[in-house]
């Protein structure tokens, strides 16, 4: 089944950054594979690390040497298709940053159940950062979850375990 049938991208369509790039620091991952007319990722990037080019329907290209890992594009992307990843140099943990528009809002230190691109549970993680770029996008949280390194290419969503969250 391809992604147009399932709604789920597989390794084939994705050009995920290599291990070395991930271990260098925060690295964005753009899961945007169709030529839709859209360019806020390019225009919002303060470092010029993302290029769409003259035709607004081009796919965005990332220059990893320029990306500072600020996360602005994660907040700006209308398709909620940009994530940010980081791996510890020793490979004992990883962090994935996810755009989030649901209630209840996650809190720092909270344990969550991590989910993959098809909504299946992967494992657990810990919320380590919750930010909001209010000036560029209201009511969209940018949430960083610390997870086992081997889960990094799978985890793209999370849910707060029932009974775990204080209302």
């Amino acid at each position: 089944m391809n992604y147009k049938q399932s709604g789920v991208l597989t390794g084939e369509e994705l050009r995920l950054p290599d291990n070395e790039t991930l271990c260098r620091g925060k690295t964005i991952i753009i899961e945007c594979v169709e030529n839709i007319p859209c360019d806020p990722c390019e225009t919002s990037c303060p470092k010029g690390a993302i290029t769409v080019g003259g035709n607004i329907c081009n796919l965005p290209k990332i220059d990893y040497t320029k990306c500072s890992g600020c996360g602005l594009c994660v907040a700006v992307c209308p398709g909620l298709a940009i994530f940010m990843a980081e791996k510890s140099p020793k490979g004992d943990w990883a962090e994935i940053t996810i755009p989030y528009e649901l209630l209840p809002h996650p809190k720092n230190g909270e344990r969550v159940i991590t989910m993959d691109r098809s909504g299946c549970d992967v494992g657990t993680g810990e919320i380590v950062r919750v930010t909001e770029f209010k000036k560029v996008q209201k009511s969209r949280l940018i949430v960083t979850v610390r997870i086992p390194a081997e889960d990094l290419n799978m985890v793209r969503h999370f849910r707060i375990a029932e009974g775990n969250h204080e209302q």
């Binding site: 992604y3 049938q5 169709e34 030529n35 007319p37 607004i56 398709g79 560029v136």
Partner: protein, 367 residues
Amino acid sequence: MALKINKCDILIIGGGPAGLEAAYHAAKAAPGLKISIVEENFLLGGQLIKQTHSFFGSKNQFAGKRGFEIAELLMDRVRKNPDIDIHLQTSALGCYEGGIVACESMAEGCLKEFQPGRTIVAAGARENMAPFPGNDLPGVFGAGAAQTLMNVYGVLPGRKVVMLGAGNIGLIVSYQLMQAGAEVLAIIEGLPMIGGYHVHAAKIRRMGVPILASHTVVRATGKSTLEEVEVAPIDKNWKIAGESTVFQADTLCLAVGLTPGTELLEQSGCRMAFVKELGGHVAWHNDRMETSRPEILVAGDVSGIEEASTAMLEGKIAGLAAAEGLSGLDLSDEISRAQQELAGIRKGPYGEKACLGKDKLCKLSVR
């Protein structure tokens, strides 16, 4: 019923994104022209006021802003212009000789007659029905209706939802239902492929909502309101090809396309054409949005089903073309810039259908 005569130069029928942009740009380009907008609903902004997702496009098309925020912006600049007056709860009934348009004001309980120099029909579209037993049960909504209830009025249509249609509307409304606290049990799609943007599908898939391609709704049942939705796999000839699954649901949303709301255009004698890529019958029009009747223009979904960003640009083009015709000003540069912008956002694979449809229309003769 009392009759009120209203004088205006440009009458715009429909206060959605196309109509609002037509009014704003016409008034801006040719100050002094009197412009009236008639809108059937008691709220301005059309279907834009219920869109909570961020828009694509570029800065010119308000990319990144949520639909309802764009609506506020468009409404605000129209309300601020003293040359534009707005008639809410007013339905256009007919377009007659000499360009006279008769309207009924439900708010004032009177008839209103307009005699504009140009009329821009931006009446939008209506949601399609899907044929299956039980499709008229309360609890079976157009997906847009469910969206209106929850995003405009803050009323949840139901708790357990099945969505029929995996085009952009089906995917977006499913996501918004989940945001509002409902549970979407499944998205059913008759075609073997998801029709909407992958990014919309990805958002709802990672939340655990299944999308069943090559499936259809067999029937909806319930005593006085919806209780169960029966779904079955189908083959490429749309014949049932496997065992049914029954979902216990109180809500079934139909997102199976839109049909342009062309009654007024047909009635007024505009040349009509059936173009399936545009959603059915539409009024013939050129790239300045002018129809076969020189005083009538079209913009937005009524001229072919697309989306809000293209509707806004079509509205702008129609507004400028109408203003040019009445004022004698040369607005051709501005019109061609808007046309280029429109062509730009139709460039990708998702714009192909609209381009094909508009091309087909252009190849037909005016008469």
